[in-house]
Every structure is written in C-alpha cells, then in structure tokens.
C-alpha cells in the first residue's frame, strides 16, 4: 500500500499475512438491505473481516419537524417512521403526550388500541418473514405472507381509512370508534390465522436449506445483546425474557394472558423462531381483546384536548368553540419531559417529549428499536460469510424509515 492515497480511517483494517482483502460497498441499492442501508464490508475471500453500516440516506429531519408542528399534527409524522408498524408508533407518541397531559383513557379505547397494535405486530412480522425468506432464497413464503398481511391491512383500513399510514390513535383516545361489522371481519381473520402460521412452518421450518442458512449464524450472547441494547425479538432470541408489555405494562397488558417466547441460541434461527411464536401470542392477545370489547366511549373526557363529536358540534356552542380552538391553535401541554417506552414489533420504541408549555413540543426524540439493533450488526456479522450478512440483516428486522427518521 502506498502512503500517497489518503484512506479514511474506517477503511483501514487489521494486517493480514496474505493481501487478499477487498472493500466492497453493499447497498444502498441492494435488495437485501431492506431500503437504503449501505454496508462497507471488508472481505477476506468470502469472510467478513469488518462491517461498517452507513445510514442516513433516508434522513428527513422528522425530529426537527415535530418542533414546528402541534402535538396532534405530530401523529401523522410518526406513521412514516417504522412504516411496517405505524400503529405502534402512533401509540408510543400519543401515550407520551397523554402522560404529560395526565389523561385517563377509557377502557374501550385501551382495548381497541391493544387489538389494533397486536394485529399490526402480526402484519409487521409477516413482512419480516416474507422478505427474510426471500433474501435467503425461499420465494414462495413471500406470497403467502403478503396474502395474510393484506387481510390485516384491510382491517386497519376499515377502522382508520389508511392502510400504511393509519394515524388511528389520537391524543386522548382514538380517531373514531370501530366501524359496524369490524368485529365479525376481525373474528373471521383471527379464526383462520393460526392455520396460516402452521403453513409457514411447513414451508420454512422443516426446510433443510433454510435451517443450514440460519442455524449457528450471527450469534450474539445474552450479555452482548444487553450491552448492545438489543430489544424485542432480537433480545429474546438470545434467551433474555424481557418484554415491555410485561416489564412496564401499558394499555392494560397486565390483564392479558400471553407468553413471552424466548430462544436460548442467539442466532438467526432463534430470532426466526421467536418471531414465529410471537405471531401466535399476538393472535392470542387479539382474540382476548376482541372478546373484551364492551360498548363505551373511545375518547377521554377532556374537551380542551380531544376533538368533540360532530353531532355535539351541531347543537353545543362550546363544543364548536373547542373544535375551532384545538384545530386552529392546538392545546397547551404542561411543561416537563417524559420518556414513554412501548414494545413495538421490533423492540423497545421509546418516545421522549420535552415540553416548555404551549401547543408545540420543544423536543421529540424517538428511540427506534431498528436503529439500536442495527448498531449491533458488526458484532454479529464479523467472521461470517458475506452471504450470511444477508441472513443476519433479515433476522434483525430493520426498517430504515425508523433508523434515519
């Protein structure tokens, strides 16, 4: 190597006796990097010596944008972060704002939130499963997954009007109650879904090629997983029984009967099995939530924060004025700061809101699980084959919209 070329520090790697090293750029337009992730891989033959994720290609300054929008306008931005789990993002943001406002959410709204979030979690896992299998070479699974996800998106569309960007949750409750016939349609889906999971197992879990590609690949120990801040299925795949729904329950999750699946091995296969089992658990929670739906209000009793019903606006002057004030000026939120974590489909999704009072937040920060999980990628992939990096990225289940924000 001549010293004339000025190599940036991240390209310099350990001395090897044979000069067989090659630096390649994987992405940002690589189909298996799930968006616009770029990896700088230093390879020795086919072995990865060093992996450096390069992110930011999708950075749109969302956290800056929050500071210029009223609290209720921020909900729309959250949809665009983890676009496979928008209801989870809505929930985390709304609950953080509700914590500042001290709002009590009615039981029906809580139950619907749980139901919709668990449906969304299944939908998110289905996209992960389809694309993960596709990356490894099992094409068929993709179509089966998207067939099932379509049914979930139809349910979300029926409730909120949007498929990918529902913005269904509002500060103080829901946008509106579930439409007529929703419970029947939801039950129809839930009745058929366990069969679909069994179908995925038949397609993949017994597949020798899939097993060989995933077992023992991308190992991370329990101590390392905590040290790297892994959360969600990635952490549970390393044998740590930690679920925010259990550890710091919200929305009444403490009243639901479900298991937290864990696998001890910490490899790609373990993370695969955790998510497969989680789909069944989410199904269990959804069935319970659906059976607990009782008639009631879906909005908190806080006229200064929650938009009034359309009917009330036609007959009550104060409702009309409140509507005008909330829409035109927003509502004041007490000064203070909160951090609210929830268990999103990918791990701990934390929202930090800092308010100086007034209708706009002073700072909103999202602790995206994908962001933190991706930072552990070098620890998992160094020493593996380059083809296995694809499997490891798939097993992390990252969404670049959330990483770059």
């Amino acid at each position: 190597m001549s010293s004339v070329v000025n190599i940036p520090p991240q390209f310099e790697v350990v001395d090897r006796p044979l000069d067989t090293q090659m630096t390649i750029s994987m992405g940002p337009q690589h189909p298996s990097t799930h968006g616009v992730l770029r990896l700088e891989l230093v390879l020795d033959g086919e072995m990865v010596v060093k992996a450096t994720p390069d992110i930011g290609y999708l950075h749109t300054g969302m956290e800056k944008l929050f500071e210029y929008k009223k609290y209720q306008q921020g909900i729309v931005i959250t949809d665009r972060m983890d676009y496979l789990n928008p209801l989870g993002n809505n929930l985390a943001y709304c609950m953080a704002a509700e914590k500042l406002l001290g709002l009590e959410i009615p039981e029906r709204a809580q139950t619907i939130r749980v139901l919709m979030c668990e449906l969304q979690r299944i939908g998110s896992h289905l996209v992960w499963l389809g694309t993960h299998a596709l990356d490894i070479g099992a094409m068929t699974v993709f179509f089966y997954c998207f067939r099932e996800r379509e049914k979930i998106l139809n349910l979300i569309e029926a409730a909120s009007g949007g498929r990918l960007t529902p913005s269904y949750f509002r500060i103080g409750g829901l946008m509106m109650d579930l439409p007529a016939g929703f419970e029947r349609r939801c039950k129809q889906f839930l009745d058929a879904f366990p069969k679909a999971v069994d179908e995925f197992h038949t397609l993949l879990s017994g597949n020798r090629i899939f097993q060989k590609r995933t077992q023992g690949i991308g190992r991370i120990s329990a101590e390392d997983a905590i040290d790297w801040g892994l959360s969600g299925p990635c952490l549970r795949g390393s044998g740590i029984n930690l679920d925010i729904r259990r550890a710091n329950p919200y929305c009444g999750y403490e009243n639901y009967d479900f298991e937290v699946p864990t696998e001890p091995d910490g490899d790609v296969w373990a993370r695969y099995m955790v998510r497969m089992r989680e789909m069944k658990e989410s199904h269990r929670i959804s069935v319970q939530a659906l059976s607990r739906l009782k008639p009631g209000s879906v909005k908190a009793d806080a006229p200064k924060v929650v938009l009034p019903d359309r009917e009330a606006m036609k007959s009550h002057m104060d409702a009309l004025i409140h509507h005008f004030l909330i829409v035109a000026e927003g509502f004041d939120v007490p000064a203070g700061e909160v951090y609210h974590p929830i268990e999103a489909s990918k791990g701990e999704l934390g929202v930090y809101i800092r308010s100086d009072g007034g209708p706009k937040p002073s700072r909103v920060h999202f602790r995206g699980p994908s962001f933190v999980n991706l930072s552990a990628l070098p620890a998992m992939s160094e020493g593996e084959m380059v083809a296995d990096v694809v499997a490891i990225i798939g097993s992390l289940d990252i969404v670049l919209g959330e990483i770059d924000r």
Partner: protein, 189 residues
C-alpha cells in the same frame, strides 16, 4: 385573534365546569424521592446535583465530569442494576438559555424493570461530555447521533463521526437556531 376572542367567550360561559380548566398532572412535583435516589445521595452526594420527580419519572441531574462514573456505578450497583441503556438524546433548551444544552440518558434494568433518567446540562461554549461507550457499547451510535444533531462532543468516543447527515454537513440540525429548511439546498460536492 379570533382564537383569543373565542377563548375569552368560552371562559365566560357558565356551561363550562371550573375543574375542566386545568388538566390534572399525573404526579405532583413534591413526590417523595425514591429510596434509590436517597441511597445514591448517601453513597455519592457529589453525583446528585438535583433530583426531579415528575410524571411518574425520576430525573437525576449529574455534574458532567461524573457522568461516566455514575453510569458505571449504577450499572452494577445491587440497588439499581441499570444494565440496559435505552437511549441517549440531546435537547436544546433555547438559544437564550444558559445552560443551553442537555443530554438525557435513559437507563433501564432488565432484572428490576425500573427506569431512571440521568441528565447532564451543558453551556453553549463548552459542549464536552465524557463518553459512556466504555460502560455500554450501545452508547456508540446514540452519542454519534447527539453529536451529529446537537454538536455535543463526547470525549473519548472511539469513532465520533456524523451518522445521519453527510460528513460535509455544516452546522447541527436540531439546534434551535438552525432553520427548518436549512441554509441552502444541499448538494453533493
């Protein structure tokens, strides 16, 4: 203007109950400090500059020079066992404020399932903080992000580069004096 008139009118209306005027706050400022904070104050009084208990969350303001030691202690201390760093995020209190910046560390315990927030406040002239990458490796990207967006410099960080914005970006985008649309359209040189 219209809003002001309407608000005035609304406040004069009898149909509005008085108690709706102020939204209740989840927990009072005067909440008793938790046993954890009390024990920490006994153990290392110099680390606890201030304690804020609000909205059911505990914030400990730590002097900047002690943050790495405090994190490392809280990680293994049997009373706390904050072995999981959830998040680090910066905040800009406003251009006129002094101290202007703060760095918030959200700690979580995977065994005790409790949380705490450590806060370091920084003046605009001197935005140096010791790194905690030696305590948790996950701090690496969080600190890079805080550096990128606020210009907080983490002393001793192994790889303090920009992470979200391009390497040749000018300024720190989440500072309050940075305009929403930037200074000029960005183009690759």
């Amino acid at each position: 203007m219209v809003g002001g008139i309407l608000r005035h009118k609304l406040n004069g209306m009898a149909s509005e109950p008085e108690n709706k005027e102020t939204t209740p706050i989840a927990s009072s400022e005067a909440a008793a400090p938790s046993p954890l904070v009390a024990a920490l104050q006994r153990e290392h009084p110099e680390w606890v500059a201030d304690v804020i208990a609000a909205f059911g969350e505990i914030t400990i303001v730590v002097p900047r020079e002690h943050i790495a030691a405090a994190c490392s202690f809280l990680k293994t201390w049997p009373e706390s066992r904050f072995d999981f760093l959830s998040d680090i995020c910066g905040a800009d209190r406003g251009v006129e404020e002094d101290p202007r910046f703060e760095v918030n560390y959200h700690l979580f315990s995977t065994t005790k399932h409790h949380r705490v927030r450590l806060k370091v406040v920084l003046s605009e002239e001197d935005t140096h903080v010791p790194t905690v990458t030696g305590v948790w490796r996950t701090a690496n990207w969080h600190e890079r992000e805080t550096f990128d967006l606020f210009g907080v410099i983490f002393d001793g960080h192994p790889d303090l580069r920009r992470i979200l914005l391009p390497d040749d970006w000018q300024g720190h985008a989440l500072r309050k004096d940075f305009p929403l649309r930037g200074y000029e359209p960005y183009s690759l040189k």
